[in-house]
């Protein structure tokens, strides 16, 4: 609304002052604790990041696992982004696998430029998402989930069949030896990859947070709430989704590329529907927001390692039980636990 939009000078002035008063009255008591929790969150985040940065020194053999947690977390972040619009991608393994196979295919060309390969992996994920997204974003609910599933399964079957090119079920060995032109030994490469990945996570996390706070990012949540109203505001919900889908494809591809570089091997299993469910589990376990999926990935990794170690014969039971408990009692996921607890304690006190 420009100047002529205000009813009269006097009214507009009155409105402004009352607005300010209103803000002064209502906002301060409400925002003070919010700001405090915000600060707490930021400091917690910084502590976690510092802790992560120190991990390769604290526990060198686990550098690999941390890298995988970050990689899966990145791909899970892509799934979580679509979850904000209320859509479950049951086939995000497509992008994850695409990223990995891109690295496998291009590693012989740029064996020492791992960073380039990671970006290519993300780029291919984004391109595939842009193409598939053109028609996938027209679907909602279970249809969206199942179309994603179908596409990833087609990719899976094609890879199995193209035995001569992709090695079929054997997959391909990925030989990335350096990240920025220098050949590195295996141990040094693992560490370097971890730091590059951690840096990418921070950069991508910040960029994604920007996006989530932009009108288009906010619109995703509005799609979940009431899609039709978005259309009446002159905005295409499908286009909002397409943008998010491409971003989430990039994240999936990037995550897959990191994992492939770290593992040194890709296989069609990366495309199988169970890989997709892992990404969904990671996104939901973690909860909304940019940090959630990484917590989810860490939790999932921890769980599967512990289960494999102590329950080698029935780790799926443990995993299943934990998923059920989390979605039952901590519906907002791991990252939402403080809020869930606060709400629960409030209710308890009221009673």
């Amino acid at each position: 609304m420009a100047a002529e939009g205000s009813p009269t000078e006097a009214e507009s002035h009155h409105e402004h002052s009352s607005m300010r008063n209103a803000l002064a009255e209502t906002a301060s008591p409400r925002q003070a604790p919010m700001r405090a929790t915000g600060k707490l969150r930021v400091s917690a985040l910084v502590t976690i990041l510092a802790f992560c940065a120190a991990l390769p020194f604290i526990s060198p053999p686990d550098t690999f696992e941390f890298t995988i947690v970050l990689a899966v977390g990145l791909a899970g972040l892509g799934v979580a982004l679509l979850l904000e619009a209320g859509l479950i991608s049951f086939g995000h393994a497509l992008f994850y696998g695409m990223g990995g196979y891109t690295v496998a295919a291009l590693a012989p060309v740029f064996p020492r430029f791992g960073i380039l390969l990671l970006l290519f992996g993300g780029g291919v994920g984004a391109i595939v998402a842009a193409i598939a997204g053109l028609f996938i974003v027209r679907y909602r609910g279970v249809f969206f989930a199942m179309l994603n599933l179908a596409i990833s399964m087609v990719a899976y079957s094609v890879l199995l069949k193209s035995y001569a090119i992709s090695g079929g079920s054997d997959g391909m060995v990925v030989q990335v030896q350096g990240l920025v032109g220098q050949a590195l030994g295996p141990g040094a490469f693992g560490r370097a990859l971890f730091y590059v990945c951690l840096g990418s996570v921070i950069v991508l996390g910040v960029l994604l947070q920007c996006y989530r706070r932009s009108p288009a990012g906010w619109g995703l949540g509005a799609i979940e709430d009431r899609e039709i109203r978005i259309e009446y505001l002159g905005v295409s919900a499908n286009r909002l989704l397409l943008q998010a889908y491409v971003i989430s494809g990039f994240l999936g591809g990037f995550g897959g590329a990191v994992a492939a570089s770290a593992v040194g091997h890709v296989a069609p299993d990366d495309f199988f529907w169970t890989t997709s469910t892992v990404l969904v589990v990671v996104a939901v376990l973690g909860g909304r927001g940019v940090v959630g999926p990484f917590l989810g990935a860490a939790l999932y990794e921890l769980l599967s390692i512990a289960a494999a170690r102590y329950l080698s014969n029935s780790w799926e039971i443990l995993l299943g039980a934990v998923i059920l408990l989390v979605i039952r009692f901590a519906r907002e996921g791991f990252a939402g636990l403080p809020d869930t607890w606060r709400a629960a304690s409030l209710q308890w006190r009221r009673q």
């Binding site: 402004h16 409400r30 920007c210 009108p215 906010w218 949540g221 109203r229 259309e231 009446y232 002159g234």
Partner: protein, 247 residues
């Protein structure tokens, strides 16, 4: 050259499963005009609005917005032509807070909407959003998620979102239902004032004849899917036949 009217509808027909919901409706809204539509429930008023916003497609007839035919266009495209709509049942986003609704609507009307690095809370629209909040007395609820606010406030928010689009034509489906009668007149006064100040044309469906008499330039009376009378509020509302059919 004379500018095309804000809305022209010519010989519209639409039926649902054998029931004629709209029969040969023709209606024109001049630029800057505020037109009220009255009629009993089921008279086809909302159906007409739905056709004008692209939700339903007329079987026959033409609709032009500022001279541009919109039959077959999607709601989104029509909104882009400057037609905003508020709903009888507020169409808002239950999990989001009040102020963000207006920020979003305001961003939707501006270039740069797709820039992922421009915050929703951009300084360009902040002032307008605050004005709108205050205008509809929603400022105290600004940070509340809308699922918790009273029905009347939801209704206002719905209208406010339509207004935030800075439309050329606004279609309001019972804008004051759900608003307490004490606030009704005050709200309409300011709303219509704002519309006139900006030269926005408007159609509003209304059941309160006081409101109609006071704010409409013209009134269209609907009976069983067709327009029964069109004219100035004084003429139409005093017509005994209208009284019989509508009141």
């Amino acid at each position: 050259m004379k500018a095309a009217p804000a809305l022209e509808a010519e010989h519209l027909f639409l039926s649902f499963g054998g029931v004629q919901a709209v029969r040969d409706v023709s209606l024109t809204v001049a630029t800057g005009e505020v037109l009220a539509i009255i009629g009993q429930n089921g008279a086809g008023k909302s159906t007409f609005l739905n056709m004008c916003t692209g939700y339903l497609r007329p079987e026959r007839g033409a609709i032009r917005i500022a001279g541009c035919s919109i039959v077959g266009l999607k709601p989104r495209a029509i909104a882009r032509l400057g037609v905003a709509r508020a709903f009888q049942h507020p169409q808002i986003f239950p999990q989001r807070c009040v102020i963000d609704h207006l920020r979003f609507a305001s961003a939707a009307a501006r270039p740069g909407f797709w820039n992922p690095f421009r915050p929703l809370n951009s300084p360009q629209s902040a002032q307008d959003v605050l004005q709108l909040l205050a205008f509809f007395a929603l400022d105290k609820l600004a940070d509340q998620p809308v699922r918790g606010i009273p029905e009347g406030a939801r209704k206002l928010l719905d209208v406010a979102m339509a207004l935030a689009l800075e439309p050329k034509l606004i279609l309001l489906d019972e804008p004051t239902s759900g608003v307490s009668s004490a606030e009704k007149l005050g709200l309409m006064t300011r709303l219509v004032h704002a519309l006139r100040a900006r030269g926005v044309s408007a159609i509003f469906v209304e059941h309160d004849m006081d409101v109609v008499a006071r704010f409409a330039d013209r009134v269209a009376v609907w009976v069983e899917g067709a327009i029964f009378r069109v004219g100035s509020p004084e003429d139409v509302l005093s017509d005994p036949e209208v009284k019989e059919h509508v009141l």
